[in-house]
Amino acid sequence: MTTQTIQPAAATAGWDIRRVPGIGGLALGGIAAVLILLWVGSDGYKQTLVTSAATYALIALGMYVPYLMAGSLSMAYSAYAGIGGYAVGLVSSKTGLPLAVAWLVGPIVAALLAVLLGLVTRRLSGFFLAAVTLLFGMAFTAFLIDAEALSGGSGGLGNLRPLNLFGWTPSHYQVVLGSAVIVCVIAFLLDRLRLSPWGVIVRTMRDAPRAVEAAGVRVPVLNLVALALGAAIAAVGGGLFTYSAGSITPDTFTLNIVFLAIFMPLIGGAGTPWGAVAGAVIAVELTLNFPAIQTSGTLLLALGVLAIMLVAPRGVVGYADKLRTRTWALLRKEPDRG
């Protein structure tokens, strides 16, 4: 879709990698990921931090499309991540299929459920949508505890089989590496999606739904697609976390994570999906890896979110971008003056 914008450049000056949309974000994100992975090394605890951050990032990225692009705050993401997690648990314990199938089934089931919930709530927005989806998340947790035959009740599912991809079993470090790669790839693709014609329509729909409807686009269908996409991404994250943790219970994905996932893009910056990733890294750093004030890390995060919302609505990535443009302008001006 976006190839149209780079075609003139390709025709005149050959294919230039710098003109691929979203490549700058990918480069920066990739560099950050490599630095984080170098910092982690073979430390088991730090590896757990990375998989947690990747899971948070995937849930926040899942919410990115409906919440920041389409402008409707659905909060059922604990359920979608839970479906991804339980898909891994169920495929491992109840079937003989290869475990990789879970990452196919989980996101599809989550997307279907999101479409179903989206159809039921298609006339709701704002506070009403938030309330219904929160209640749905609670009901899903209750269902997981009740349906003991399927989900193992409050004890959950454990003893997962190791992943086996065509005879190759990745080590723990390779799983950590893979989760970082998945986050980077999905953030890059979402960044591309944001800039694509489809993304522009979805973002216009947030600001002027009637204009989009009048232009012949089916707004409800667009909303459903956005919800399904988000749910599928969150389910991938849920599956990833379950696999690296080795078990899943109804308490693995709580409403707390949903709240954190709403705040992550605000911390990192709502302008680009990479902001959600940056926010996830900061959130994990504050809540799990802050030894001095361990118990109050989440409180610090909540207060930080309030402060950011009031003082710096564009978040960390927005600020960094502003700093970059200012520096460039300064560097370019310097020779003129001299």
Binding site: L73, F127, A131, L135, M138, A139, D146, A302
Partner: protein
């Protein structure tokens, strides 16, 4: 459904939900949006009272007074420090206010957990007389107090909104912020009064309900949702509508688990929410305006 003791329990639950819904209603009338932090306000009231009594051996009444004061301050800070600046910048969009309120909700939960600790604390009963027996029903002093205070706060709110100057100003400001500002009405002051009153009602509800099942720092979210549902079911047409919605939810909360097992009320709540939001989002009682 012939067990009168269960009915009493449902009425008590209904009064609690009704008071939460009244707090929602006050802010909705005055500021035109739903403040999801109502549940955490109630949690703050209950938890702070219990904590003061248990940790500092304070009397129940001074502890309750301190907790109410803390909650009212929190409510005022919500309006002055968060909602007002965010709404001013976003120009009346619904999503920024919603996200801001969600952040407040989360922050109050974490603050309460940090200060008061995460375990569930037993509630402190304000009334200490012996349980009253009426026929085959035993009325606990805390239940009686809950029902009396709920009815009182509804009656006072009704009188206040209908016949005092400030109450009428509240409705004027809520109907149209802009028109009220053009008329030179003190919009900001009235909104602040609405928030403070809502904080007061919510704190009282939390303190009075805490003896029933105890309170912990995470109780607030479920209470927020129940209160919101009660105000949606009841509608905003009359001051008493939230109480009616609360009673309906109280019946669901008590009788569904009794007949269908422990978690049935969660499914029931979701079902009611879907039903009402889809078919009657304006609630049961709607103010009819003559053409």
């Amino acid at each position: 459904m012939t067990d009168l003791q269960l009915w009493l329990s449902a009425v008590e639950m209904g009064c609690f939900f009704g008071m939460l819904a009244l707090a929602y209603y006050l802010i909705h009338v005055g500021a035109g949006f739903f403040n999801f932090a109502i549940g955490p306000y109630a949690m703050m009231g209950g938890l702070c009272t219990s904590w003061l009594v248990i940790t500092y051996d304070l009397g129940v009444w001074p502890a309750a007074a301190a907790a109410v004061a803390v909650t009212v301050v929190l409510a005022a800070v919500t309006e002055l420090g968060v909602v007002r600046p965010v709404q001013r910048r976003s120009g009346g969009g619904e999503l920024p206010a919603l996200v801001a309120v969600a952040a407040v909700l989360f922050a109050i939960q974490q603050l309460a957990g940090y200060v008061f600790g995460y375990p569930t604390l037993p509630g402190q009963s304000l009334a200490t007389f012996d349980p009253v027996t009426v026929g085959e029903v035993t009325v606990q002093p805390s239940s009686l107090l809950m029902i009396v205070v709920a009815l009182l706060s509804f009656a006072l709110s009704a009188v206040w909104i209908r016949s005092t100057r400030t109450g009428r100003l509240l409705r004027a400001v809520g109907d149209s912020n802009r028109a009220a500002a053009l008329l030179g009405l003190p919009v900001n002051r009235i909104r602040l009064i609405a928030f403070v009153l809502a904080g007061l009602v919510a704190a009282l509800a939390g303190i009075l309900f805490a003896p029933k099942a105890g309170v912990n720092s995470l109780s607030g979210l479920a209470w927020s949702l129940s209160g919101f549902l009660a105000v949606v079911v009841g509608g905003t047409g009359s001051v008493w509508a939230p109480l009616f919605g609360g009673m309906l939810l109280g019946l669901v909360e008590v009788f569904l688990p009794y007949y269908f097992g422990g978690q049935a009320h969660v499914y029931g709540m979701l079902f009611i929410a879907l039903l009402f939001f889809a078919f009657k989002p304006q609630g049961l009682f709607v103010r009819t305006v003559r053409a």
